[in-house]
Symmetry: C2
Subunit: 273 residues, 2 copies
């Protein structure tokens, strides 16, 4: 049972506070109850948050830990003055030294996603998600040349979640294309891909893990059998090697780690830096 409560408070979505706070907490072997308090953008909501935090402290018998990314000073003041938790002001801590370094005052802009919907970068993300969906699993050859990256690999090697992650987080038009037994027989990449070699990136996976994943979908099928998985992976790796395609094994990697590695290798021009 969790023995302490952690709050993530923001005037925006609290996604930044939560992402960062969780990464910090992962450094400790402790089991905490997490409570996200987004959109705390008025004094009234701040007072309510203070009551909730202090109540949790009484119930737990331990003071709560409170990560905030509040930029509204009036709201932050209510929390600072009223909250009996341990306050970790993630913005204040770094914004003040940066004001000195940059010789600029911070603008106290609320929320990195606010008004995002009007920004060019945001539009590109939405466009990329639609593109990646339309080009999932080799569904469409149309516009394949507009892809920033084209993932290839055997069925269930991790192509779809990785493509969607690249689109959602980085606005990359990520297509993906299965390598199937017909390709192995022909001993050539799918013809649609041969003109886009510089955008190709391969995903492979341990046959044992692949067989597990496929068995969840189609139990006891030839498709999921270890023997067939071994054969497909062997053929796919040989084909990627022959074609000079960069690739990695997804077996023990998360989509975030796979995506980061792909970005390092492909270095797409589209990415805003």
């Amino acid at each position: 049972m969790p023995n302490r409560t952690v709050f993530f408070i923001s005037d925006g979505t609290a996604i930044t506070a939560e992402t960062f706070g969780k990464a910090i907490l992962a450094q400790f072997e402790t089991d905490c109850l997490h409570i996200r308090l987004p959109f705390v953008d008025t004094v009234e909501k701040a007072n309510k948050a203070v009551r909730q935090i202090n109540h949790a402290g009484i119930v737990d018998g331990k003071r709560p830990i409170v990560f905030t990314t509040l930029v509204n000073m009036e709201v932050l003041k209510v929390i600072t003055n009223g909250c009996q938790g341990m306050l970790l002001d993630m913005f204040g801590t770094f914004v003040h030294p940066l004001e000195t370094e940059l010789q600029l005052k911070s603008n106290h802009r609320i929320g990195r996603f606010t008004d995002a919907s009007k920004s060019k970068e945001y539009q590109l993300r939405i466009e990329a998600i639609n593109f990646s969906l339309a080009h999932d699993d080799g569904q469409s050859h149309l516009d394949l040349e507009h892809s920033d990256v084209i993932l290839v690999g055997v069925s269930r090697s991790g192509k779809t979640p990785t493509s969607l992650y690249l689109a959602m987080q980085y606005g990359l038009k990520a297509s993906n294309y299965p390598l199937i037994p017909e390709d192995f027989e022909r001993r050539h990449l799918p013809p649609a891909l041969t003109t886009h070699k510089n955008k190709l990136f391969g995903l492979t996976i341990q046959p044992e893990r692949l067989s597990e994943i496929r068995n969840e979908r189609r139990p006891n099928s030839h498709y999921a059998s270890l023997e067939n998985c071994r054969q497909e992976v062997k053929e796919a790796e040989a084909m990627m090697r022959r074609s000079g395609i960069r690739w990695l094994s997804t077996t023990t990697k998360s989509i975030e780690e796979i995506a980061t590695t792909i970005l390092q290798e492909i270095r797409p021009e589209r990415l805003a830096y």
Copy 2:
């Protein structure tokens, strides 16, 4: 032209460093070049990073800003000692006071995504992505009862990106279901949905914006015409009101803001806190 370079350094993906660093930088009206240095997990890579940072400082004529979430102390020491940039040690700053508060030593665990692929939480995320893809746009009624949330709304109101975001970030099985002219004529929700009312959440959108979005897809069609968009939105909102479905307008919201609001309203049990 950017006049200063910002680095995000981590022994893992550097996604946390970048997410947080960008949120801080958004507080300033300044244009910086962003460089992500992931997987800096050896002294050798740390030395290379130091050279890159110091070189950028010389080229810019201004010291770089360096956000780190390094947990390997040996690597961090190389950066601390060698780097001529302004070092913002995001982990150290908060981990030390937390060690005192929790009376625990931090475990210096590298990367919140490392070994994620083996965790139950990660498996649920991948499962949720597959589920949401299979239940996009009312494609399948199968297993609809296993949804954590079912989004409804007219075509192009933002259902698909929001569903995928909920699945990818929170491991929620998010289905989505279009409201179409046939439903409006019948004046009833699609029959498949009537037994899942507690999971329904509606998205609506300003007709003017909807018409813009649809015109990109099908220029000058009846589907995209302002008149038709006005009619569909009016009918959809009336239907959601009649059916007692909670809803919000996506017109000026990002998928992060939409998702956060949905989580606040639906409070799915599945969510790990």
